[in-house]
């Protein structure tokens, strides 16, 4: 009964949507990269950098949306580094990605110390607040969950539709999908495989950084060193879970977030008295792995994922 109470409470679903928001942005970013054939393992570091850049920009006096823009630009800059190494140079995408995560994380902490040398606890900013959407927010259960969130959460949902539209309805999206499947087909049309792939990695990395900035600008109001805490790696799994499709990836992100919100609440029930809390912390990950196994069996991996394109090679 306690389980059912949790599942039927609006606050539970509101929390799930909130937890899902950064994942949605970053998963979209990773999805764009992988659809173009580039695995971006820099995601974890880019999210850390985005969280910091957005927050420090607002702390320095920019408006909140200015902070989002700074985060996006920071992600694009890091994405540019990734794309130069992985696309024209064709280096191992695993090595480039992990290296970028280490670089971006370390650079963030370094910058933090340079900018705020003497502080013991990070300063707070005025974060995004919830905006209630008239009428819609009055729908029982769904209303408070979906239509009483911060503007950045609404933006996450809108971006899913935008990315899906671009991927499936525009020549640009078609080229991105083709370049991850058979770059030779794109080159034969006189289009630049290198340009399209680099562009996808750069834009995708921008999305990842915005996902990171959600943590400092919307979920919390400050920056902590370990606040991204593996969310980037979850997003890589969510892309697989979503079979490289934006809509399915959105569902995956909400599902994972729901598991997470559920376990927090479960800890406070009578079950929580018997089990160590770490068991609850494991839950979303275990359930995600199971869901991943079930969902990804028939998923189609972009055929040219992680295959560098060398013009003229037999």
């Amino acid at each position: 009964m306690e389980f059912l109470d949790i599942l039927l409470s609006a606050s539970f679903w509101a929390a799930a949507i909130r937890i899902a928001s950064p994942l949605i942005f970053a998963t979209l970013g990773e999805l764009i990269c992988e659809r173009a054939g580039v695995l971006n393992l820099g995601i974890e570091g880019i999210m850390v950098a985005g969280a910091f850049a957005g927050w420090i920009a607002v702390w320095a006096g920019l408006p909140l949306w200015g902070g989002v823009a700074v985060a996006f630009a920071t992600g694009m800059a890091l994405g540019f580094v990734h794309s130069v190494l992985s696309v024209p140079f064709g280096l191992s995408q695993h090595v480039v990605g992990v290296g970028l995560t280490l670089l971006a994380t370390a650079l963030t902490f370094y910058t933090y110390r340079v900018v705020l040398p003497e502080v013991s606890s990070p300063p707070k900013i005025q974060a995004f607040t919830a905006v209630e959407i008239p009428v819609l927010s009055k729908i029982p259960l769904i209303g408070p969950a979906l239509f009483n969130q911060t503007p950045l959460t609404y933006a996450a949902f809108i971006m899913v539709a935008v990315v899906a539209f671009v991927l499936y309805r525009t020549p640009l999206g078609l080229a991105v999908r083709a370049v991850g499947e058979n770059p030779g087909a794109v080159a034969a049309q006189g289009l630049s495989v290198t340009g399209i792939r680099m562009g996808a990695v750069i834009v995708g990395s921008g999305f990842m950084a915005v996902g990171g900035s959600f943590l400092t600008l919307s979920a919390f109001d400050s920056f902590f060193f370990d606040m991204v805490n593996g969310r980037g790696w979850i997003c890589i799994a969510l892309v697989v879970f979503g079979a490289w499709k934006p809509g399915k990836a959105l569902l995956g992100a909400i599902l994972f977030a729901a598991f997470d919100a559920f376990q927090i609440r479960l800890q406070q029930t009578s079950v929580g008295a018997f089990l160590p809390y770490q068991v609850f912390l494991m839950m979303p990950y275990i359930l995600s792995i199971l869901a991943l196994v079930a969902m990804s069996r028939r998923a189609e991996v972009p055929a040219a994922l992680m295959v560098p394109f060398n013009k003229g090679e037999r």
Binding site: T170, L172, R177, A178, E181, A185, A187, Q189, G190, A303
Partner: protein
């Protein structure tokens, strides 16, 4: 351009010359293509056909000479220039993305990258209209990954037509097609030519060239050596022009076959995940005899060659090797028993693309002949590779280059050398000449003839009935995993074999498996 007379060529190459370092790939090549004409571009591997096409499509810049399309000079080195001017190319290796639908593949790149929408309804209507006009039946909504090879080629042609191509260039278009699909392709091309298109047809298959082209242009060592009407030309003449000497196909005089070296008795296999396994197959391979296996691919050829190569074991029935039942059947025992294979796919199962020629030459013998006590004996391996390269005429800049840089013919020669140097008792030749030019084909066939004369048993698997009939002492037809009786050389007409290939003539065996 309206003022251009009917005699004005749609495509004119003038004095195209291209060097790669010291190698001359094209040397002063000039020819014209007129409206509504099919010309064939003939030449052996390395004769410069591909380089010429790459110059036309701006991938390379010519050292000298120029290309004119519809009377206007093409700016060199601009990949889109030829496309935009109305030249469509159907590559030998298709340039399609499998996870996209047919129409998505076709419209890819047409509107540039900045258009706000793909306008699918309009695109699909146009594709349906084109496929009707040119008899290219294909559903625009289907994903390309689920199409057959023949259908994919239709998509490639549609792609060119969708871009209003006035000139179609087809690179080895029939290499992957069945005879029926080839006929359909030719019907389409005739349709296209009748509607004013011009076609450049690149091929090695001389009977096809004679069937479809009105004129041939022959390249040899980068130079244009002949240009003539096909009317009145014979295959032998064209072959001689291409190779630069009289070509004599190796002859296969009847011989007296020796003892049975390998014998299958009522063998059934599960097919190991392949669609078709073997069903109650009995087969004898005799010394000094070539046994031909005809059939449309995918009817159990793979299962049979896997079985003989040691990759699979009979689920029921027996396999006898030289009168004994082998124990523990694996690829390694098969090699030890003197079974050598020329694999169906030289790129994937025949060689390791990023290994060099030396490493590839000893792939099957490195454990036994070219190592002692766990150490490779590279000196001997290098000498062996060098011998193969000399003896089998493998043309390569060095034995230390990665094998992926060789042409198909040269790669096949290395594999052939590797196989034959072990003096195998049984040779499993699966599509040994697919995609090779006439010189290489005759070379491979000649080597198989020599192996036969030496007393080897050869199993020749091929989809080319012509090849099967010319080489084989006995012919079996395989269809849905069942094997026809043995037909002696010269006893069957192609149509009769074709009927067996289609599955007629087999008695449905009813006994329980």
């Amino acid at each position: 351009m309206e003022g251009a007379g009917p005699a004005q060529p749609v495509l004119r190459l003038t004095d195209i010359t291209k060097h790669f370092g010291p190698v001359v790939a094209n040397d002063g090549v000039s020819f014209d293509l007129h409206r509504g004409e099919v010309i064939a571009l003939l030449g052996e591997n390395g004769a410069g056909k591909t380089t010429l096409m790459n110059i036309l499509f701006g991938q390379y810049t010519a050292d000298a000479g120029y290309v004119e399309l519809f009377g206007e000079r093409l700016p060199p080195g601009r990949p889109r220039a030829a496309l935009d001017a109305g030249v469509g190319m159907v590559h030998q290796h298709f340039t399609l993305a499998g996870n996209l639908t047919v129409w998505e593949n076709i419209v890819l790149g047409v509107d540039g990258l900045t258009a706000p929408s793909l306008r699918p309804a309009k695109a699909k209507a146009r594709i349906r209209d084109l496929s009707e006009r040119f008899h290219l039946k294909v559903d625009p909504e289907v994903r390309v990954g689920s199409l057959t090879v023949g259908e994919r080629q239709r998509v490639e042609i549609l792609k060119a037509l969708y871009r209003d191509a006035k000139i179609l260039i087809l690179d080895e278009p029939t290499a992957v097609l069945t005879p029926q699909e080839t006929d359909a392709l030719f019907a389409t091309l005739r349709q296209a030519v009748a509607q004013g298109l011009s076609v450049v047809f690149i091929s090695h298959k001389l009977h096809e060239v004679l069937a479809i082209a009105s004129r041939v242009v022959v390249l040899r060592h980068g130079r244009l050596v002949a240009e003539r009407e096909t009317k009145g030309a014979t295959r032998e003449e064209l072959a001689a022009l291409m190779v630069g000497a009289e070509v004599t196909a190796p002859s296969f005089e009847p011989t007296v076959p020796g003892p049975v070296l390998l014998s299958l008795k009522n063998v059934t296999t599960t097919g190991e995940g392949r669609a078709t396994g073997l069903r109650d197959v009995s087969l004898d391979l005799r010394a000094g005899q070539i046994t031909g296996l005809a059939g449309v691919s995918g009817n159990g050829q793979g299962a049979l060659s896997d079985l003989i190569a040691g990759l699979d074991s009979p689920a029921s029935g027996e396999m006898w090797l030289a009168g004994a039942l082998p124990r523990h059947w694996s690829p390694r025992t098969a090699i030890a028993e003197g079974i050598a294979r020329i694999p169906e796919d030289r790129h994937h199962t025949g060689t390791i693309a990023d290994f060099n020629l030396v490493e590839n030459a000893v792939l099957e013998t490195y454990r036994t002949t070219y190592s002692t006590g766990g150490w490779m004996n590279w000196t001997d391996a290098r000498r062996f590779a060098g011998d193969l390269i000399d003896k089998y005429d493998v043309r390569c800049p060095s034995r230390n280059i990665r094998i992926r840089l060789l042409s198909g013919g040269n790669m096949q020669k290395l594999i052939l050398g590797r196989v034959l140097e072990g003096e195998p008792r049984i040779i499993l030749a699966n599509q040994p000449v697919r995609g090779l030019d006439i010189g290489a084909v005759n070379y491979v066939h000649g080597q198989l003839a020599e192996a036969r004369a030496r007393g080897a048993a050869v199993l020749l698997i091929s989809e080319d009935l012509d090849e099967i009939q010319r080489l084989s002492d006995v012919i079996h037809v395989i269809s849905e995993g069942r094997l026809s009786p043995a037909f002696a050389r010269g006893t069957m007409k192609p149509e009769e074999l074709g009927a067996w290939m289609a599955g007629h003539g087999f008695k449905e065996t009813t006994h329980a498996a």
